[in-house]
Amino acid sequence: MIELVSESRCIKCNICVNICPTNVFDRVPDAPPTIARQSDCQTCYMCELYCPVDALYVAPESDMQTSVNEAELAEVGLLGSYRENIGWGHKRTSTAKADQTFQILKQMK
């Protein structure tokens, strides 16, 4: 579930509000969006991909809330890690080009 909107990183673009498939966020004038309906979060990680400044963190637990520590997440490189993995973001190239499904299917029985 979504657990963090980083106050320090967020640039208040409201992209996450717009793109979240299950309408989890609410926009707030002159402030970062709030996580208004956390239990509706479907743990799809899409907001992280679209946040331009890696200000969001979606914890892997999909059925329960967990507590997270922003400094620790940043330290271990988890803020924005999915966006990095798929090569989205400024000066990155999509890793879709490196998709090795063919290697895997070759070895399927």
């Binding site: 892997p60 190239t93 090795q100």
Partner: protein
Amino acid sequence: MLKTLTTDFELDLEADVLVIGGGPAGTWAAWSAASSGARVILVDKGYCGTTGCAAASGNGVWYVPPDPEARETAKASRESLGGFLSDRNWMDRVLNQTYTNVNQLAEWGYPFPTDDEGKPYRRSLQGPEYMRLMRRQIQRAGVKILDNSPALELLVDDDGAVAGATGVNRQTGTKWIVRSQSTIIATGGCAFLSKALGCNVLTGDGYLMAAEAGAEMSGMEFSNAYGISPAFSSVTKTLFYNWATFTYEDGTIIPGASSHRRSVIAQTLLQQPVYAIIDKAAESMRASMRLAQPNFFLPFDRAGIDPFTQRFPVTLRLEGTVRGTGGIRIVDESCASSVRGLYAAGDAATRELICGGFTGGGSHNAAWAISSGYWSGKSAAEYTRSLGEHKTQRQVKGVGEVGLQSGSARTLATNEIIQAVQAEVFPYEKNYFRTEQGLTESLGRLNHLWQELRNSQVTSEKELPRVREAAAMVATARWMYSSAIERKETRGMHKHLDYPELDANQQHHLISGGLDHVWVKSQPLNSKEKSESKIGALV
């Protein structure tokens, strides 16, 4: 209050073709309709580009070059799994159309990889990239997109033909109406808010809306797809569990359990936790796996688990008709439903035509979304053209019932209804392993829930989208279990403990429909090439 919904629209639009749902099926439909010259509006509950199950996941595609031998193998591969209900003519059509459209994606700039012989490899699409591209392409083609705008009910004209839809913007509360000459339902399947990856927008809304306009369902008994995921996570991706060992808590191997023998896993989960470890993947494979499906590893990396060396608990999450095969009945090659002006595509439409009674996970589903989307868009545009001039000035009315019309002032306890329907469709002992008694009892409770929905009223309009989702889930479950009771055999994904064998006399489709009174009838296969073999695989 409720009737205002059909009279007081802040956004009043007209289109030749309205597409409801913006996943792969909806975007392909919108693109092909717009390319045929139609004015197209696409509405989505979420945000077209991120919502639906394809955007959140990775998609293997049934992309097979037009080599007769390869195509033959592709067609033969799942016929027995599907219980011999698929149709080779439809398979050929889908294989052809998918091949063309996936090549089109390459022209549009989808960054396909090359294989180790340096040839382009086009059997896999990464969801976020694919759907971001589709959004861009339909915008270029002139499609108007309304995001965050769930459709709530269909409009029908005096002759009973579908004439658009109404809905609401869930963020602004703005009510919208789109009057259209033809309408395509591409709202995906129904996973009952199980939190399977990307599936919580998929609550069967399109089935409900279509049924209210008089459409029929087919194959609803094949609606019990369960995907393997880590117990704590949403990521239901089964491919890599091909290299997994499944164990009890103490580490001993569970006999017979595998990604293909999910019923053993389900059986065990009824008694105790099941663990997996993906230890059969060689070192080089592990690297390939990360490059193939980055989001498979996301929950593990974040939970601090190395799935190749550490055991982790797994569960089976219901994906219902998302990866099951049932949906709105298709009456001809145009992807028309049985109601005039209404078309269906993707998971919202029955996929039995190419998958029979077994999930097309891993390839067929994505191919079906692409090709049925493409055909429905083209046919809807043609239909609109055929209406000519007298198409304007029609009298239309909304045909939505539950939540939109109401007989009493009892307040709806929506969340309780949702939990109650989940309690009938999630448990393996009810939905995976079916029995006559279990199905009948569930159906009794589901019918009761339907009555409750029918007899109560929403307290605020804000609640409407959720109430309509609840109603759609209850309706879907009733078609599922009513069909399952009628199929007194085990075929495809429908596993009936009282009738564990496949019965040659039941090689037919089950058509269902109705709201207050659900009905089911059988329909012979159209296929000229009926299978010789009568033995189905039990999975």
